[in-house]
Symmetry: C2
Subunit: 214 residues, 2 copies
């Protein structure tokens, strides 16, 4: 796997370059990314790009996976504390709004790349789950029915030993976090709340209290 990978090496570099240009286009033109424009910027024929990505959707999927990774990095780099991680996530979203829209906005073609994205997406959630699992939170009133089993399964996978209702509350906090960021990014708070950071912190403090942290 040394000299044999020379060709694979330049291929990987080219792939990265395409993704970089595509990411730049994404941040200026929005979600309607043009493969031809990317090729034009790279000084190559549009058909050549298809040697690297079978379709525009495949390029987008690659960008989505990378975005999950980047967001995961940001979340893991923050201090292991609820508010810190939340703010790290929000700041990443503010810095990469179109990539946030790509992963948490409406699915672009009405279809979501199925399995490839799941592990990448899990990292951010895990960063929050770790905090909840590490803390001692009150269990509160239990959930019942099939939902309890499902939440128990999630708990077994993500944070063993956590009560299902705590998992449910943690997921709620995560939804609250996503909702707040998306609302801010997508213009839902326009002309209503300008103290965005304070508002977000207020929301996430509430979410933490609901989960049972502190």
């Amino acid at each position: 796997m040394k000299a044999a990978s020379l060709r694979a090496r330049v291929r990987a570099e080219m792939t990265d370059e395409i993704k970089a240009v595509a990411r730049r286009h994404l941040s200026t033109d929005g979600a309607n990314l043009s493969l031809r424009a990317v090729a034009r910027d790279l000084g190559m024929a549009s058909s050549a790009v298809y040697r690297y990505f079978a379709s525009r959707d495949e390029l987008l999927t690659a960008l989505i996976i990378d975005a999950y990774g980047s967001l995961g990095d940001a979340a893991e780099a923050a201090p292991r504390e609820w508010l810190a991680v939340c703010h790290a996530i929000r700041e990443w979203a503010l810095a990469h709004p179109h990539e946030w829209a790509l992963i948490y906005g409406s699915p672009v073609p009405g279809y979501r790349a199925p399995r490839d994205t799941v592990p990448a997406a899990a990292r951010v959630i895990l960063a929050l789950a770790r905090i909840v699992a590490a803390a001692e939170v009150a269990e509160g009133e239990p959930v019942t029915g099939p939902l309890a089993d499902e939440l128990q399964a999630v708990a077994d996978g993500f944070a063993p030993g956590t009560a299902p209702q705590v998992v449910g509350r943690a997921m709620g906090a995560w939804l609250h976090c996503c909702g707040a960021i998306s609302a801010e990014l997508f213009g839902q708070l326009q002309d209503t709340v300008e103290a965005r950071r304070d508002f977000f912190e207020f929301q996430m403090r509430g979410a933490a209290r609901w989960v049972g942290l502190t």
Copy 2:
């Protein structure tokens, strides 16, 4: 304004017909709505549609406003109770997923029609705000700083006499609601939670408790 409106009348009918076909296309093809395809379905030249909508974006804006109206209707038709309204909103979203994506997903071209949509968007929120305003909720610990003033301004506009921190919590509940529905619709809960309705109810019960209802 009687006979003079004959022309305006057929124009309005034509406009509605275009929007209806566009809505149908939206529900099958997703967000990448094709004006030409709509025209084709109507048996008219694509250029004729431009007599009614100056651009594809303008058509989409019209659909967005209509969607807000439809959602507002659904929310107002529900019993004036927290959980009932939340479930009505969710059920509307499940019935009109692409329209939900249109209004609460990522902005399609990176741009949001500015003022036209605001009053339409307010109705759903008002349906929830009424419930909070009508209930007697504990004020809890107060907010301070500029955020408090902004929340107070929102309170004065939406539900006079409500404490700013209650408004903040209510907005949080709304964000939680939006986040939960979007997550369900956009596939975030895939392979994790199947008891969707129970999960949503669990979330919104928690949101209500956080606001201070019941």
